[in-house]
Each structure stands twice: as C-alpha cells, then as structure tokens.
C-alpha cells in the first residue's frame, strides 16, 4: 500500500502551536542570524535566543571554552547586549521572517527579571523562558531552591500573560521538586536541562582550562543525564516539557520525546553538525512515517517500561 499520509509535525507547547517540535537552545544560536547560511529560525519549531538581561553584560573573561569527551565545557557568563537592544534590533527581524521566538531572560534579582519581562510583555515575543539555572554566574541560582523558584515564577506570572517556561538546572538534588515548584508558581512549561557543572585542568600549567575555573557541560556527554531528568520531570508535572541536553541526531530526539518531552532543543549539537536541526526535523518525520504515526506528538511519552 502506498503511504500517502502526511505526518502532522505540529505540537502545542504552553498553548502555542509550533510548526514542529525542534528548537535550538539558548546560548548556542545567538539571536538567530549566525546559522542563516544553513537554516533559518523560521524553519524551527521555535528559537530560544541567547539570554538577555535588563542591562548589557560583559560575561566572563576568556578562555571560556574547553573540550570534554563527547562534549564541551563553557563559561560564557551571559554576555549580552541587553533586552532593549534585542527588542529594537533582533526581535522585529525574527518576527518578520516568521520565527516563533522564545526569549531567555536572566537577572541578578527578581526585580531584574521583572523589569525585563515588563519590556518584553509589550512586544510580539511568543514566550518567555526564565533562566534561573545558569551555572556560570556567582551565587546560588534561584533554580536551586524550590521556594525561590515558585516565588519568582509567581511574580513573573503576575506581570505577563505570555507563556512562561522555566529552564531547570540539573545541579539540584531533586529535579522534580523544582519542576513542581515552577508549576505551582504558574509556569506553562519547563525546559531542561541547563548545563551540569564541570571542570578541566591543564596539567602542564596546573591551571584550570577555563578562566572562570568551573563551567557548564553540554554535548552528548550529558545526554543520559538529561534523558533521565526529562523522564522524571514529565512523570511529575502536567505542564509542557521541553527536553534537551546532548541531542545531536534525530534518534536522540526520539528518545527524548519517548521519555516525555513535548518538544526538544538542540544546543551544543550545532557545533558538531550545524545542520542538525533540519536533520532532526526530517528524521522525526521519517520515523513517524515508518511507524505509522500520524502526529509527531504520538512519540511523546510512548516509553514502554514493562519488560
């Protein structure tokens, strides 16, 4: 029998219909222009842009990058030109080309987050992702504490009607405790994982490979950790789950969705294969065709745990 059925690649995340379930993660795709020769943000389910803060930030001193087996260690430190610059230059362009835009927001204090979101609330940004989990800035991140996560989420909930995504840190004892706190605070979705913290040393100089000493790990090295946390989180919350961490190829995305992710993000995988988002979209579609799935969302949570 000839298979003429087309797979419905759209997914609903936090009440918004996306073209497909594939995103590029904050910090790995700039503000959408850097990979234009290979893919356009409009081809993705959504683009999660580099974090913006209320004031511009320098970020950390270099070296900011070190390689690890099957991955990379980074300590960028949230260098960005500030939310106003983003709203004036990058956001209008992203919307004009038809991209769905998730704005990653960061702050030193709850008031910083609030000030950013107030500005973004008046724009046509599609969703807000609160970055409460950056491993590369001083102090304990809000995302390491359930109560602080709930309080911040709730404060931002009262400022905007736009969907709020909380980006979760893996550097916690219980990922589900923080995910549930985000849900209780009024979040529409959680995204995970941000980078687990790591470190490398140059044995000849006896110095850390990163100027900031520690950094965040990403790439295939963290994929099993991310998959486990997505699975636990998806089983705990009722809101949308956006899963990522070490996805390089479409098979990884299928695993992530089977574990419970409604959508996936590709981050450091872009460094290995810049065309990976398009290949993952194509691979997911083919997987659905081959397995007689009419909608890509049928992969989500299709894990069979019975032996």
């Amino acid at each position: 029998m000839e298979n003429t059925k087309k797979v419905d690649m759209t997914v609903d995340i936090a009440g918004i219909r996306l073209k497909n379930p594939v995103m590029t993660s904050s910090g790995t795709c700039g503000y959408g222009r850097d990979y234009l020769d290979i893919w356009s943000p409009a081809e993705l389910g959504a683009i999660m842009v580099k974090a913006v803060s209320i004031e511009p930030r320098n970020g950390n001193p270099p070296p900011r990058i070190a390689e690890i087996p099957s991955g990379v260690l980074n300590s960028i430190g949230l260098q960005n030109p500030g939310v106003r610059h983003f709203i004036e230059t990058d956001l209008p362009w992203l919307k004009s080309i038809g991209a769905t835009v998730i704005v990653n927001v960061v702050g030193y204090t709850a008031d910083d987050y609030a000030a950013c979101v107030e500005l973004l609330d008046e724009t046509d940004a599609d969703m807000i992702e609160l970055n409460i989990s950056c491993p590369n800035v001083a102090g304990k991140p809000i995302g390491a504490d359930a109560k602080a996560t709930e309080t911040l989420t709730n404060q931002i909930r009262n400022i905007t009607k736009k969907p709020i995504i909380i980006k979760l840190s893996p550097n916690v004892t219980s990922i589900t405790e923080i995910a549930l706190a985000a849900e209780a605070g009024g979040a529409d979705a959680v995204s995970l994982i941000n980078c687990p913290m790591g470190m490398r040393i140059n044995i000849n100089t006896r110095k850390p490979m990163l100027a900031n000493i520690t950094g965040g790990m990403s790439g295939p090295a963290v994929f099993p950790l991310a998959l486990r946390m997505v699975w636990q989180t998806a089983n705990a919350v009722n809101i949308s789950v956006i899963g990522g961490g070490g996805i390089v190829k479409w098979e990884d995305a299928v695993e992530m969705m089977m574990a419970g992710a409604d959508a996936v993000f590709i981050g450091a995988g872009l460094f290995y294969d810049p065309a990976s988002p398009l290949k993952v979209i194509e691979g997911l579609e083919k997987y659905c065709c081959d397995n007689n799935l009419s909608n890509v969302n049928m992969i989500t949570d299709s894990l069979i745990t019975d032996r």
Binding site: I38, P62, F271
Partner: protein, 259 residues
C-alpha cells in the same frame, strides 16, 4: 559560509620534529570566496562524536580548485588528522571570520611565529612581492613553508631562538630592522600572544597600520556561542568590550586590542 564534505587530496608531513602537516582539500566551492586570514572549521574523528568541537584552521593558500591548511599535532584531534589519507572525506564549515585587509597598493610586512606563519602565508599568496616576510621559529628542525612564501614571490628572513637556522634571536629584532627602513605601510602579525603583543608594542613608535590574527579557544566558529572572545577597545563607559574572534576577528587592528 558553506557546510560541506570535501575530499582530501594530500596530507603531507612538513616537519617531523614539529609534527607539522599540510592538508589539501579538493573543493572549488570552499576556495571560491575564501580570503586570506579566514579560517575553516573541520570535523575530526569521523563519525565518532567523542570530539564534539570542530577544529579551526586558517587557510594557508587556495587556488581555483583546492584549499590548503597547515597544522601541527597538539592534541587528540590533530593526532587523528595526522592519520588522514588522500581520498578520505572531511566535513568542513567555512570560510569563516574576517581576514587580513590585503591591499596590493600597500607595502606589507608579514610577521609569523611558529604555526602563526600559516595565516600570514595566506596574505603572502595574495600580496606576492608587495610584501616581505619575517618568520620566527624555536629551532631549525621546526622551520617549514619558507619555500612556499618564496614561490609567491615574497622575500623571507628567518630567525630561530637557538640560532640553528638563520639568525639567533626573536622575530621582534627582524621586525625592528625592517621597519627602520621606512618602507612599510602595513604589518600583519600572527603568532603567540606574547610575540604579537611585543611586536604590537614595538610598532607604536612607527607610522604603520598593524593587524593581528588572534587565536582563542573556539566552539561554534560562526558567532553564535560567544565562546572565543577578545578584549577590544570600545567607545563605551568602561572603554572596552568582548568581541568574537570567529566573527569580528580573527584579524583585529592591533591598536584596538587590549592585551
């Protein structure tokens, strides 16, 4: 910027001691719009994703059909590259970054130290006898690529730290002697940070434009990740900003670099 697979036609050992190789790709597409001082990111390790990051290499020279890069073995990634044989396919991203501001109406001094000579060799291939090269190496068994500079019509002077080839000393001495001739409009430098910093310092006393190609640990290579930043003077309150070696660089005006 292209994201393509290209065939290797040569991977030749240039210096046994330095483990320096010359790798040529058969790719008219990659060579088409490549400017000297730009670079390519090459995927190493084949299908093995143990090496997540591509390795950045400046273009040494191009012709209509081929691109040549040169590298020395410094770690597991370049160790893998040293085993590449002709016919093998490599995933290559590029050309990337902003290269040397080559201008044949300007007399240019090319300053290269150790593996930094490959980036200035790219400039030599465009400038020919409008340029002169001064190259510094640690010792004679690390000296390489000199014949290639000469083949492009570029006169070359060599200095080694131990005096085993050419003069004994540091490349800064040769730079000073050349500049005292008052013949040069522009200087291009690529080498260790220490070397580039001391040459740039020396040049403050001369009326020449000076450009440096800066190497920094790099991930994406296209400007997206902000990993490879360099501190550059800026017209803001603090007087500087971090710029990306892969996007605004790797070539920067030396007067703007904060060393």
């Amino acid at each position: 910027m292209l994201d393509i697979t290209a065939k290797v036609i040569e991977n030749r050992l240039l210096s046994e001691k330095g483990r320096i190789y010359s790798l040529t790709l058969d790719s008219p597409e990659l060579s088409k719009d490549c400017l000297p001082g730009q670079f390519y990111e090459i995927k190493v390790g084949g299908l093995d994703s143990r090496f997540l990051l591509r390795r950045p290499f400046s273009v040494a020279f191009c012709d209509d059909k081929t691109v040549t890069i040169r590298y020395n073995v410094v770690g597991a990634g370049t160790e893998w590259m040293s085993g590449i044989t002709p016919g093998q396919m490599l995933d290559v991203l590029g050309p990337l970054g902003r290269g040397w501001p080559v201008d044949k109406t300007k007399k240019t001094l090319l300053v290269g130290g150790s593996t930094g000579i490959f980036s200035v060799l790219g400039a030599a291939s465009h400038l020919g006898d409008k340029s002169r090269a001064v190259l510094g190496f640690r010792s004679c068994d690390l000296v390489n690529s000199v014949e290639d500079f000469k083949a492009f019509g570029v006169p070359v002077s060599i200095i080694t730290e131990d005096g085993s080839s050419g003069r004994k000393g540091l490349v800064t001495e040769l730079v000073k002697e050349e500049l005292d001739k008052n013949e040069y409009d522009t200087v291009f430098i690529c080498g260790s940070t220490l070397m580039m910093k001391s040459v740039a310092e020396l040049l403050k006393d001369y009326d020449v434009d000076c450009y440096v190609s800066i190497e920094e640990r790099m991930a994406c290579g296209v400007g997206a990740c902000m990993g490879c930043v360099v501190k550059i003077k800026a017209d803001n309150e603090q007087g500087w900003e971090y710029k990306r070696a892969c996007a605004e660089g790797p070539v920067f005006n030396a007067a703007e670099v904060i060393w």
